[in-house]
Amino acid sequence: MPENCLYIARSSAIAARALAGEMMVMNSADSTFFTLNEVATAIFQAADGRTPLREIVRHRICDQFDVDPEQAQTDAEQFVTELSSHGILLVSTQPFASEAP
């Protein structure tokens, strides 16, 4: 996964809803179901396809939670990689043409 500038967008195939601070996410293609914790939810909600991941981590994570910025970036990239492998997030080094839903 390239580290420089990643853009993330939510897949149009998924369903998602917040429940008591956690995000439920389901991929209709294979019925995989996830719940995301508060920090992961913040990243997921910010995945508009246009905001670089580094910026999301800086403003949505580091500004909100007391975490080491480099560690947060590394963890966020791992998280994004895992969700993209399940078809939940789309990842690109370029901004996406249209905004995520």
């Binding site: 809803r17 992961a40 947060a72 839903p101």
Partner: protein, 390 residues
Amino acid sequence: MTMSLMSEVGQKAFDLGIPIAVHLDVTYRCNERCVHCYLDHDDHGEMTTAEIKDVLDQLAEAGVFFLTFSGGEVFLRRDFFELLEYARRLMFNVKIKTNAVMIHEAEARRIRDLGVDTIQISVYSHRPEVHDAITKLPHSLERTITAIRFLRQQGLRVTIANVLMTINSSDQNGVQELAAELGAHYTLDPTITPMMDGDTSVLALRVPGEELPGIFSNPALVGNQEEFCAPPKPPSEEDLEGYSCSAGHSFCYISPYGDVFPCVQFPLPTGNVRQQKFLDIWKFSPAMKEVRSIQAKDLTVCSSCSHVGSCSRCPGLAYVEGNMRGPSTADCEKSFYRTGVPTANMLRQGLTRPRALSGNSAALIQIQPVPIQTVQIQSAQIQPVSVPTC
């Protein structure tokens, strides 16, 4: 871990009183005239496109995740794809219930593109002469099967729902084999519901109780037959503190006219979204609050029944019989034929077995937790980022 996360989420929604699942009928109009159908198919003023979109906005805001579009036949609404697209943009997990006769290749492709989770389709028999006689629509089985093939070609998940009646009760294996051939899941539903106007003549179609043991002993339908048919254990304190089902707790039903009910099978009016906000009805309707207040220990007869911990008592069917805290004769019969042990409701009437054709106005039986859907829910909790220290 399969299913556990889903169950955990469902329990959390139940505990918090969040309507995680809603069944929305967008029309009662239909192009079939099924002999057992309980609906009045005339349009008495369905919600408009704008009204339904507003309801969908409200449902998303209320926390609804699982949304079922049903009817009537949903594709008779010319705006159905517009509604579907809108619902998916709001990120609902969408299931569609349909007879599928209006689904062709283009519709199947569009359903796939919109990320619909499941399409549930009614098939009553593998034999056209039986299926078409039930739907009263010539060639309907042929059209439905063709549609299922289109949907499966798009990789969509299809569930075949087989309503069991006297006139097709010998065809369940044939439908199950057809489902397997088409790559569809199979569910069996022997529930026959009285007409909305109270006409109970359709109940003559219900499968006689004496045939139920044959269904309950089929592992393909009930899973672990020994466990399913085991005599009831003495009810525990926890059983008596429990609730009947998710109706009014984390699930509700909305009609094409905007009426909100605790469940499709629970015709207790609680409000109308044309007059009130959905959340106001959900949270503050006295009727909805009454439904969710009822624990097993509050039930007039069932609280002293040995089956209380394992019975699938439907409060909606009990309500149709006259008392939402009373027994549902249909479920009493099911508990008896499942285990051979008479229920408290039967014993107080001096019965050691259900009356033949008891004439109760509720559906005879209802299998809800049939573990025959083979959809695998793979689940994982993702805890990706370092736990924040504040």
